[in-house]
Structure formats: structure tokens, C-alpha cells
Amino acid sequence: MIIINKINFPIYGTIIIVSIIMGLLFNYLFLKKNNIKEKNILLYLFLLFIYSFLGGILFNSIINFSFENYTIGLSSYGGAIGICICSIIFEKIDNSNGIYIKSAILSLPLIYAIAKLACFFSGCCFGVPYKGLFSVVYTEGLNIPLFPVQLIETIAFLCLFFICYYNNKNENIISITILLSAIFKFILDYFRYSNINVFLSINQIVSIFFIMISIYLFFKKRYNRNVCN
């Protein structure tokens, strides 16, 4: 059993910043490896940072819409959507045969995996009650053994990142990464405490949307290849 006490340190913000820096670093190295101009890479990273951050805030404001509750929070799916939109816009500005989009999509599991550690240590997004191996207790929260869903998400998305990165030459890697990420997210959302009596959470609805997009991209690529042949 893992016991987590109150930490007197802004751990959530620190790990979120580390995850964004790691994502930007990955994008920088990947684009550099693919011979993109240094100046364009820096402009892209600047825009990517702003889009991921403001995307997270905007999406959170939309799904938690209320006039009374005047709070601001970050949503992982919002950040992911922001990164995707940013890469598509930048691809239109500086055409690179999809390298920007590929780099952004490949970095998403890495950013998410590290960001989930922030949730684990700060005690949010926790799992369902569970008394087995590696159960976690937040002494400042519910104070009962819980399923370590955040840790499972970190491990799953890190594995996904390495698998996708080593297969980045595959022509369908963008749709495969989106599909696997959405499926993982969809399944792991059932182990969250907040979704105990919920049939489909908003995250799961967005996951279904992403699964449909990935299937569409896969068949579009296949159709284009058949037309070319």
C-alpha cells in the first residue's frame, strides 16, 4: 500500500511544467532530426506551448460551463486538442509533408504520461476503492485504499510513446497513435472514482470522437494510396 501525505510544495504545477518542457524538447529534437529550419522550430514550439496551455483552459471552461463557478483549470484533452490544432495550422503555414503533425501527435502520450504523475502526487483524478496490491491512500483526501489509476495511466502511455516512437517510419503512425491513446484513455476512465456511476464520461465521449478520427485518417490514407497506385 502506498500512503501519500499532504505535500507543502506546488507539486502539481511543477510536474505539469516538466511534462510540457519534455514535450517541447521531444518536438524540438524530432523536428531537428527531420531537417526543419531552426527558426521555424522555435516559432512552432512557442505557438505549441501557448496552444496547449490555453487549449486546456478553454476546454475545461467549456465542459465545466457555469456562470457561478468562477474557477480556471487545465484539461488534458483540451491540451491535446490545442496541440493538434496548432500542428495543423503550422503545417498550413510552413508545409513540411506532415512532419509537424507527426511530431505533435507522437509527443502527446509522453506529455500525458508525465502529467498524470502530477495528478498522482497531488491526489486528484484518483481511482475507485481497491484493497489489492499497490493501492494508494491519500491521508488528506478520502483516506481509504484506492486503485492507482494515475500510475497505471503513466505506465501505459509511456509504453505507448516508446512503441509509437520506434515505429515512427510507419505511414499510418499518426492514426495508430491517436487510436491507441483514445482506447487506453477510454478504458482507464472506468477506473476513476468520479466515474463510478457514470455510463459515459465527457472524456470517454471525446475518446470515441478521437477513435472515429483515427479510423477516418487510416482509411483516407489507404484510399489515397490506392488512387496513386
Binding site: 507543502n8 504545477g13 527558426k39 516559432l43 512552432y44 483552459i57 478553454l58 471552461s61 480556471i72
Partner: protein
């Protein structure tokens, strides 16, 4: 005959130079105009909204303005700015604006961190705080 040909070539070169200069000027003008729009989207609109927020009591319109219009305005302004930097790399005005944006972002982040650090210090000094 040779002299005439040389004169013709010189005249053509002059014409080309004038045309190129005119094109560069018009491109620069276009870039300047776009930079002005980006400036309005990134700075003027958010500052205006913040000002309204200071003056008026919080109501539904202000919540919408802060939650949706401010981030959307900043996003579109910065996207436009990056577009100008890539399409018109020699435009000075957009280069200056981008520098200002980066410096402003760093200053705001630093201020926020200082504020956060002060708050944490204050909270850790409090004993027996309810909740």
C-alpha cells in the same frame, strides 16, 4: 547598335529594380497591417477586457469575455504573428512585436511565480487555519 542594346538592358534592369522595390514595399506594408491586427488581438483586446473586469461587477458577460474571448483572441493574434514571421521574415515590426510578446509572457510568469511563492509562505506561516 551595341550602345543602344546596352542602354536597353540598363533600362530593363532599372525597371526590374523599381518593380522589385515596389513589390517589397507593398509586402512590407501588408506585413505591417497584419502586425497591427496581431497587436490588437494579443494586447489591446485582453487589456480592454481586463479593464472592464476591474470597473464592472462580475456578471455573465464578463465571465464569457474572460473565459472564452481572451484566450481565443490571444491564440489568433499569436498565430497571425507567427504566420507573418514565416511569410515575411524581413519585416521589422513583427519581429519587435514577437519579442515584446515573449518578454511580456516571461514577466507575467515571473510575477505569477513570485505571487504564488508569497502565498505559499503566508499559508505555511498560518497555524490552525480552518479547512
Amino acid at each position: 547598335m551595341m550602345e543602344k542594346n546596352e542602354e536597353d538592358i540598363e533600362k530593363k534592369e532599372e525597371k526590374n529594380t523599381i518593380n522589385n522595390n515596389q513589390e517589397n514595399e507593398s509586402e512590407n506594408m501588408r506585413a505591417d497591417k497584419l502586425t497591427n491586427i496581431a497587436n490588437t488581438l494579443v494586447f489591446t483586446i485582453p487589456i480592454f477586457i481586463w479593464f472592464i473586469n476591474l470597473i464592472c461587477p462580475i456578471n455573465e458577460l464578463i465571465v464569457i469575455l474572460i473565459k472564452y474571448i481572451t484566450p481565443l483572441s490571444i491564440l489568433s493574434g499569436l498565430t497571425l504573428l507567427v504566420y507573418i514571421r514565416i511569410k515575411y521574415p524581413y519585416n521589422v515590426k513583427s519581429k519587435k512585436l514577437l519579442k515584446t510578446c515573449i518578454i511580456t509572457a516571461i514577466v507575467i510568469t515571473a510575477l505569477y511565480c513570485i505571487l504564488l511563492a508569497t502565498c505559499i509562505k503566508m499559508l505555511s506561516n498560518c497555524e490552525g487555519m480552518p479547512g
